[in-house]
Symmetry: C2
DNA sequence: CAAGAATATGAAAGATTATTGCGTCGATGT
DNA sequence: ACATCGACGCAATAATCTTTCATATTCTTG
Protein backbone atom coordinates (compact mmCIF):
# COMPACT_ATOMS: atom_id res chain seq x y z
CA UNK A 1 0.00 0.00 0.00
CA UNK A 2 2.16 2.78 -1.32
CA UNK A 3 -0.27 5.51 -0.32
CA UNK A 4 2.35 6.44 2.23
CA UNK A 5 4.26 8.47 -0.28
CA UNK A 6 1.32 10.83 -0.30
CA UNK A 7 0.90 13.53 2.29
CA UNK A 8 -2.48 14.95 3.33
CA UNK A 9 -2.28 17.65 0.67
CA UNK A 10 -1.79 15.10 -2.10
CA UNK A 11 -4.76 13.09 -0.88
CA UNK A 12 -6.87 16.22 -0.73
CA UNK A 13 -5.87 17.02 -4.29
CA UNK A 14 -6.92 13.55 -5.43
CA UNK A 15 -10.22 13.82 -3.59
CA UNK A 16 -10.99 17.21 -5.07
CA UNK A 17 -10.08 16.22 -8.61
CA UNK A 18 -12.08 13.02 -8.33
CA UNK A 19 -15.11 15.10 -7.36
CA UNK A 20 -14.51 17.80 -9.98
CA UNK A 21 -11.94 16.97 -12.61
CA UNK A 22 -12.14 20.32 -14.35
CA UNK A 23 -11.47 22.39 -11.31
CA UNK A 24 -9.16 25.29 -11.94
CA UNK A 25 -5.67 24.91 -10.56
CA UNK A 26 -5.97 28.15 -8.62
CA UNK A 27 -9.25 26.98 -7.11
CA UNK A 28 -7.69 23.62 -6.31
CA UNK A 29 -4.70 25.34 -4.73
CA UNK A 30 -7.01 27.51 -2.63
CA UNK A 31 -8.92 24.47 -1.38
CA UNK A 32 -5.86 22.46 -0.40
CA UNK A 33 -4.21 25.45 1.21
CA UNK A 34 -1.11 26.06 -0.93
CA UNK A 35 -0.32 28.43 -3.77
CA UNK A 36 -0.88 27.59 -7.40
CA UNK A 37 2.62 26.65 -8.66
CA UNK A 38 3.40 23.91 -6.13
CA UNK A 39 -0.16 22.69 -6.47
CA UNK A 40 0.27 22.24 -10.20
CA UNK A 41 3.59 20.48 -9.65
CA UNK A 42 1.90 18.06 -7.29
CA UNK A 43 -0.85 17.34 -9.79
CA UNK A 44 1.68 16.65 -12.53
CA UNK A 45 3.60 14.33 -10.23
CA UNK A 46 0.44 12.48 -9.28
CA UNK A 47 -0.31 12.03 -12.97
CA UNK A 48 3.18 10.80 -13.79
CA UNK A 49 3.24 8.38 -10.87
CA UNK A 50 -0.05 6.89 -11.99
CA UNK A 51 -2.22 7.93 -9.09
CA UNK A 52 -4.28 9.86 -11.61
CA UNK A 53 -4.92 7.70 -14.64
CA UNK A 54 -6.93 10.23 -16.61
CA UNK A 55 -9.78 12.69 -16.69
CA UNK A 56 -13.20 11.99 -18.13
CA UNK A 57 -16.45 13.78 -18.70
CA UNK A 58 -19.37 11.89 -17.22
CA UNK A 59 -21.77 11.56 -20.12
CA UNK A 60 -25.39 10.60 -19.56
CA UNK A 61 -25.71 7.42 -21.60
CA UNK A 62 -29.49 7.29 -21.32
CA UNK A 63 -29.80 10.79 -22.78
CA UNK A 64 -27.74 9.59 -25.70
CA UNK A 65 -30.06 6.69 -26.39
CA UNK A 66 -28.41 3.86 -24.49
CA UNK A 67 -31.38 2.94 -22.37
CA UNK A 68 -30.45 -0.64 -21.59
CA UNK A 69 -27.87 -1.76 -19.05
CA UNK A 70 -27.21 -5.40 -18.38
CA UNK A 71 -25.02 -7.39 -16.06
CA UNK A 72 -23.95 -10.68 -17.60
CA UNK A 73 -22.46 -13.54 -15.59
CA UNK A 74 -20.29 -15.70 -17.78
CA UNK A 75 -18.94 -19.19 -17.14
CA UNK A 76 -16.22 -20.67 -19.32
CA UNK A 77 -15.47 -24.27 -20.16
CA UNK A 78 -11.72 -23.97 -19.78
CA UNK A 79 -10.10 -21.74 -17.20
CA UNK A 80 -6.62 -22.20 -18.56
CA UNK A 81 -4.79 -18.90 -18.54
CA UNK A 82 -4.60 -18.72 -22.32
CA UNK A 83 -8.34 -19.26 -22.60
CA UNK A 84 -9.07 -16.63 -19.97
CA UNK A 85 -6.91 -14.15 -21.84
CA UNK A 86 -8.64 -14.99 -25.09
CA UNK A 87 -12.03 -14.25 -23.61
CA UNK A 88 -10.81 -11.00 -22.07
CA UNK A 89 -9.41 -9.91 -25.41
CA UNK A 90 -12.74 -10.63 -27.03
CA UNK A 91 -14.51 -8.52 -24.39
CA UNK A 92 -12.17 -5.62 -25.01
CA UNK A 93 -13.18 -5.77 -28.64
CA UNK A 94 -16.92 -5.62 -27.97
CA UNK A 95 -18.00 -1.99 -27.64
CA UNK A 96 -21.23 -2.92 -25.87
CA UNK A 97 -19.20 -4.48 -23.07
CA UNK A 98 -18.01 -1.60 -20.90
CA UNK A 99 -16.58 -3.60 -18.02
CA UNK A 100 -15.17 -7.10 -17.72
CA UNK A 101 -14.14 -8.46 -14.33
CA UNK A 102 -12.77 -11.89 -13.59
CA UNK A 103 -14.23 -13.34 -10.41
CA UNK A 104 -13.70 -16.20 -8.03
CA UNK A 105 -16.50 -18.66 -7.33
CA UNK A 106 -18.76 -20.42 -9.77
CA UNK A 107 -19.07 -17.48 -12.14
CA UNK A 108 -15.88 -16.77 -14.07
CA UNK A 109 -16.63 -13.27 -15.34
CA UNK A 110 -19.10 -10.51 -14.82
CA UNK A 111 -19.71 -8.06 -17.67
CA UNK A 112 -21.44 -4.72 -17.57
CA UNK A 113 -23.03 -4.04 -20.92
CA UNK A 114 -24.96 -1.16 -22.48
CA UNK A 115 -27.21 -1.09 -25.54
CA UNK A 116 -29.60 1.29 -27.28
CA UNK A 117 -32.49 -1.14 -26.83
CA UNK A 118 -33.31 -4.68 -25.83
CA UNK A 119 -33.24 -6.11 -29.33
CA UNK A 120 -29.76 -4.76 -29.91
CA UNK A 121 -28.60 -6.41 -26.74
CA UNK A 122 -30.37 -9.66 -27.59
CA UNK A 123 -28.64 -9.68 -30.95
CA UNK A 124 -25.29 -9.17 -29.28
CA UNK A 125 -26.06 -11.84 -26.72
CA UNK A 126 -27.11 -14.55 -29.15
CA UNK A 127 -24.79 -13.75 -32.03
CA UNK A 128 -21.64 -12.69 -30.20
CA UNK A 129 -21.45 -13.63 -26.57
CA UNK A 130 -23.24 -16.97 -26.56
CA UNK A 131 -21.49 -18.15 -29.69
CA UNK A 132 -18.03 -17.10 -28.57
CA UNK A 133 -15.53 -19.92 -28.14
CA UNK A 134 -15.19 -21.46 -24.71
CA UNK A 135 -18.33 -19.80 -23.33
CA UNK A 136 -20.25 -22.39 -21.30
CA UNK A 137 -23.01 -20.36 -19.68
CA UNK A 138 -24.35 -16.81 -19.63
CA UNK A 139 -26.88 -15.44 -17.22
CA UNK A 140 -28.10 -11.90 -17.84
CA UNK A 141 -29.80 -9.45 -15.51
CA UNK A 142 -31.37 -6.23 -16.69
CA UNK A 143 -30.74 -3.12 -14.65
CA UNK A 144 -34.09 -1.78 -13.50
CA UNK A 145 -32.68 1.34 -11.96
CA UNK A 146 -29.41 2.62 -10.54
CA UNK A 147 -29.42 3.79 -6.95
CA UNK A 148 -25.75 4.68 -6.69
CA UNK A 149 -22.95 5.01 -9.21
CA UNK A 150 -19.84 6.64 -7.85
CA UNK A 151 -16.79 4.83 -9.15
CA UNK A 152 -13.59 5.80 -7.46
CA UNK A 153 -12.01 5.94 -4.07
CA UNK A 154 -13.90 6.61 -0.83
CA UNK A 155 -11.48 9.17 0.53
CA UNK A 156 -13.36 9.55 3.78
CA UNK A 157 -12.64 5.89 4.52
CA UNK A 158 -8.99 6.36 3.57
CA UNK A 159 -8.52 9.37 5.82
CA UNK A 160 -10.21 7.74 8.76
CA UNK A 161 -8.05 4.68 8.27
CA UNK A 162 -4.81 6.67 8.14
CA UNK A 163 -5.69 8.74 11.18
CA UNK A 164 -6.17 5.58 13.22
CA UNK A 165 -2.81 4.18 12.14
CA UNK A 166 -0.96 7.40 12.89
CA UNK B 1 -34.10 9.23 -27.37
CA UNK B 2 -33.43 12.94 -27.46
CA UNK B 3 -30.00 12.52 -28.93
CA UNK B 4 -31.52 14.04 -32.02
CA UNK B 5 -31.06 17.51 -30.66
CA UNK B 6 -27.34 16.87 -31.01
CA UNK B 7 -25.54 17.38 -34.26
CA UNK B 8 -22.33 15.57 -35.21
CA UNK B 9 -20.19 18.31 -33.67
CA UNK B 10 -21.93 17.98 -30.32
CA UNK B 11 -21.43 14.23 -30.35
CA UNK B 12 -17.78 14.66 -31.23
CA UNK B 13 -17.41 17.06 -28.32
CA UNK B 14 -18.95 14.53 -25.96
CA UNK B 15 -16.73 11.76 -27.28
CA UNK B 16 -13.58 13.86 -26.93
CA UNK B 17 -14.41 15.05 -23.43
CA UNK B 18 -15.30 11.56 -22.35
CA UNK B 19 -11.87 10.41 -23.50
CA UNK B 20 -10.03 13.43 -22.03
CA UNK B 21 -12.05 15.57 -19.69
CA UNK B 22 -9.31 18.12 -19.13
CA UNK B 23 -8.73 18.88 -22.77
CA UNK B 24 -8.23 22.54 -23.48
CA UNK B 25 -11.13 24.29 -25.15
CA UNK B 26 -8.92 25.47 -28.00
CA UNK B 27 -7.67 21.93 -28.54
CA UNK B 28 -11.23 20.64 -28.40
CA UNK B 29 -12.34 23.27 -30.88
CA UNK B 30 -9.50 22.33 -33.20
CA UNK B 31 -10.47 18.66 -33.07
CA UNK B 32 -14.15 19.21 -33.78
CA UNK B 33 -13.43 21.72 -36.51
CA UNK B 34 -14.88 24.98 -35.19
CA UNK B 35 -13.40 28.00 -33.45
CA UNK B 36 -13.05 28.29 -29.72
CA UNK B 37 -15.96 30.56 -28.74
CA UNK B 38 -18.81 28.52 -30.27
CA UNK B 39 -17.13 25.36 -29.02
CA UNK B 40 -17.19 26.64 -25.46
CA UNK B 41 -20.81 27.70 -25.90
CA UNK B 42 -21.69 24.18 -27.00
CA UNK B 43 -19.91 22.65 -24.04
CA UNK B 44 -21.76 24.94 -21.64
CA UNK B 45 -25.06 24.03 -23.29
CA UNK B 46 -24.29 20.32 -23.08
CA UNK B 47 -23.55 20.77 -19.39
CA UNK B 48 -26.75 22.71 -18.73
CA UNK B 49 -28.89 20.23 -20.64
CA UNK B 50 -27.48 17.37 -18.63
CA UNK B 51 -25.64 15.51 -21.36
CA UNK B 52 -22.49 16.14 -19.35
CA UNK B 53 -23.14 15.35 -15.72
CA UNK B 54 -19.68 16.19 -14.43
CA UNK B 55 -15.95 15.76 -14.76
CA UNK B 56 -13.86 13.39 -12.70
CA UNK B 57 -10.25 12.42 -12.29
CA UNK B 58 -9.75 8.68 -12.63
CA UNK B 59 -7.89 7.74 -9.47
CA UNK B 60 -6.11 4.42 -9.14
CA UNK B 61 -7.82 2.88 -6.13
CA UNK B 62 -5.28 0.06 -5.80
CA UNK B 63 -2.42 2.53 -5.60
CA UNK B 64 -4.27 4.19 -2.75
CA UNK B 65 -4.56 0.98 -0.81
CA UNK B 66 -7.97 -0.28 -1.84
CA UNK B 67 -6.84 -3.64 -3.08
CA UNK B 68 -10.10 -5.52 -2.74
CA UNK B 69 -13.04 -5.26 -5.10
CA UNK B 70 -16.16 -7.33 -4.60
CA UNK B 71 -19.42 -7.82 -6.41
CA UNK B 72 -22.26 -8.62 -4.02
CA UNK B 73 -25.58 -10.07 -5.16
CA UNK B 74 -28.30 -9.17 -2.69
CA UNK B 75 -31.78 -10.64 -2.31
CA UNK B 76 -34.40 -8.94 -0.17
CA UNK B 77 -37.32 -10.41 1.71
CA UNK B 78 -39.79 -7.72 0.71
CA UNK B 79 -39.73 -6.02 -2.68
CA UNK B 80 -42.30 -3.43 -1.73
CA UNK B 81 -41.27 -0.07 -3.15
CA UNK B 82 -40.72 1.44 0.30
CA UNK B 83 -38.45 -1.42 1.28
CA UNK B 84 -36.49 -1.16 -1.94
CA UNK B 85 -35.99 2.54 -1.34
CA UNK B 86 -34.91 1.89 2.21
CA UNK B 87 -32.22 -0.52 1.07
CA UNK B 88 -31.03 1.88 -1.63
CA UNK B 89 -30.76 4.67 0.92
CA UNK B 90 -28.72 2.41 3.13
CA UNK B 91 -26.37 1.62 0.23
CA UNK B 92 -25.87 5.31 -0.49
CA UNK B 93 -24.76 5.71 3.09
CA UNK B 94 -22.13 2.96 2.94
CA UNK B 95 -18.89 4.38 1.57
CA UNK B 96 -17.52 0.94 0.70
CA UNK B 97 -20.44 0.45 -1.69
CA UNK B 98 -19.59 2.38 -4.83
CA UNK B 99 -22.41 1.14 -7.07
CA UNK B 100 -25.87 -0.18 -6.38
CA UNK B 101 -28.03 -1.44 -9.22
CA UNK B 102 -31.50 -2.92 -8.95
CA UNK B 103 -31.94 -5.90 -11.23
CA UNK B 104 -34.65 -8.13 -12.57
CA UNK B 105 -34.53 -11.88 -11.98
CA UNK B 106 -33.81 -13.74 -8.80
CA UNK B 107 -31.20 -11.32 -7.52
CA UNK B 108 -32.66 -7.99 -6.45
CA UNK B 109 -29.51 -5.87 -6.31
CA UNK B 110 -25.92 -6.04 -7.35
CA UNK B 111 -23.38 -3.97 -5.46
CA UNK B 112 -19.85 -3.10 -6.41
CA UNK B 113 -17.77 -2.68 -3.27
CA UNK B 114 -14.17 -1.70 -2.51
CA UNK B 115 -12.12 -2.20 0.62
CA UNK B 116 -8.52 -1.81 1.77
CA UNK B 117 -8.27 -5.51 2.59
CA UNK B 118 -10.30 -8.64 2.97
CA UNK B 119 -10.84 -8.33 6.69
CA UNK B 120 -12.27 -4.84 6.28
CA UNK B 121 -14.70 -6.14 3.72
CA UNK B 122 -15.59 -9.14 5.86
CA UNK B 123 -16.34 -6.81 8.75
CA UNK B 124 -18.57 -4.69 6.53
CA UNK B 125 -20.26 -7.78 5.16
CA UNK B 126 -21.07 -9.42 8.48
CA UNK B 127 -21.72 -6.31 10.54
CA UNK B 128 -23.42 -4.05 8.06
CA UNK B 129 -24.76 -5.74 4.96
CA UNK B 130 -25.87 -9.10 6.32
CA UNK B 131 -27.44 -7.56 9.39
CA UNK B 132 -29.29 -4.85 7.49
CA UNK B 133 -33.10 -5.04 7.71
CA UNK B 134 -34.91 -6.91 4.95
CA UNK B 135 -31.74 -8.53 3.56
CA UNK B 136 -32.50 -12.17 2.82
CA UNK B 137 -29.38 -13.37 1.01
CA UNK B 138 -25.99 -12.09 -0.02
CA UNK B 139 -23.58 -13.81 -2.37
CA UNK B 140 -20.18 -12.22 -2.79
CA UNK B 141 -17.60 -12.64 -5.55
CA UNK B 142 -14.08 -11.33 -5.29
CA UNK B 143 -12.63 -9.61 -8.33
CA UNK B 144 -9.51 -11.50 -9.36
CA UNK B 145 -8.56 -9.04 -12.05
CA UNK B 146 -10.14 -6.41 -14.25
CA UNK B 147 -9.84 -6.88 -18.00
CA UNK B 148 -11.83 -3.83 -19.07
CA UNK B 149 -13.20 -0.83 -17.24
CA UNK B 150 -14.44 1.92 -19.52
CA UNK B 151 -17.64 3.36 -18.12
CA UNK B 152 -19.45 5.64 -20.50
CA UNK B 153 -20.93 5.71 -23.92
CA UNK B 154 -19.60 3.72 -26.90
CA UNK B 155 -19.69 6.58 -29.36
CA UNK B 156 -18.57 4.41 -32.25
CA UNK B 157 -21.74 2.35 -31.82
CA UNK B 158 -23.82 5.51 -31.62
CA UNK B 159 -22.36 6.99 -34.79
CA UNK B 160 -22.72 3.80 -36.74
CA UNK B 161 -26.32 3.54 -35.59
CA UNK B 162 -27.16 7.11 -36.60
CA UNK B 163 -25.50 6.76 -39.97
CA UNK B 164 -27.68 3.78 -40.77
CA UNK B 165 -30.87 5.59 -39.79
CA UNK B 166 -29.98 8.64 -41.84
C1' DC C 1 24.46 19.64 17.39
C1' DA C 2 25.75 21.97 13.37
C1' DA C 3 26.43 22.18 8.41
C1' DG C 4 25.13 21.05 3.95
C1' DA C 5 22.10 18.84 0.52
C1' DA C 6 17.74 18.06 -1.16
C1' DT C 7 13.16 19.32 -1.57
C1' DA C 8 9.15 22.27 -1.38
C1' DT C 9 7.36 26.74 -1.20
C1' DG C 10 5.61 31.45 -2.83
C1' DA C 11 6.13 35.80 -5.63
C1' DA C 12 6.62 37.60 -10.22
C1' DA C 13 6.53 37.42 -15.18
C1' DG C 14 5.38 35.69 -19.61
C1' DA C 15 2.58 32.53 -22.42
C1' DT C 16 -1.60 30.30 -23.06
C1' DT C 17 -6.37 29.93 -22.49
C1' DA C 18 -11.17 31.30 -21.29
C1' DT C 19 -14.71 34.53 -22.04
C1' DT C 20 -17.32 38.46 -23.77
C1' DG C 21 -19.03 41.59 -27.49
C1' DC C 22 -20.15 42.26 -32.04
C1' DG C 23 -20.66 41.99 -37.01
C1' DT C 24 -21.69 38.54 -40.63
C1' DC C 25 -23.47 34.51 -42.84
C1' DG C 26 -26.92 30.96 -43.81
C1' DA C 27 -31.28 28.71 -42.89
C1' DT C 28 -36.28 29.11 -41.98
C1' DG C 29 -40.61 30.62 -42.65
C1' DT C 30 -43.92 34.07 -44.03
C1' DA D 1 -38.09 38.33 -51.66
C1' DC D 2 -37.56 39.78 -47.10
C1' DA D 3 -37.36 39.56 -42.22
C1' DT D 4 -36.11 36.76 -38.27
C1' DC D 5 -33.47 33.67 -35.76
C1' DG D 6 -29.57 31.13 -34.67
C1' DA D 7 -24.78 29.99 -35.07
C1' DC D 8 -20.33 31.21 -36.50
C1' DG D 9 -15.77 33.60 -36.33
C1' DC D 10 -12.85 37.68 -35.30
C1' DA D 11 -11.06 40.72 -31.99
C1' DA D 12 -10.32 42.29 -27.32
C1' DT D 13 -10.22 41.58 -22.48
C1' DA D 14 -9.94 38.85 -18.34
C1' DA D 15 -8.40 34.88 -16.17
C1' DT D 16 -5.57 31.09 -15.87
C1' DC D 17 -1.56 28.29 -16.62
C1' DT D 18 3.29 27.63 -16.43
C1' DT D 19 8.06 28.73 -15.89
C1' DT D 20 11.79 31.03 -13.36
C1' DC D 21 14.02 32.14 -9.32
C1' DA D 22 15.08 33.27 -4.59
C1' DT D 23 13.88 31.75 -0.02
C1' DA D 24 12.54 28.66 3.62
C1' DT D 25 12.05 24.09 5.46
C1' DT D 26 13.26 19.41 6.19
C1' DC D 27 16.43 15.66 6.26
C1' DT D 28 20.66 13.73 6.22
C1' DT D 29 25.41 13.48 7.53
C1' DG D 30 29.66 14.45 9.77
Amino acid sequence: MPAHRLDPIDRKILAELQADGRMTNVELARRVGISAPPCLRRVRTLEEQGFIKGYHAEVDSRELGFEVQVFASVGLQSQAEADLRAFEDRCRGWPLVRECHMLNGEVDFILKCVAPDLSTFQAFLTEQLLTAPNVASVKTSLVIRCAKDEPGVPFDVLEERLSRTA
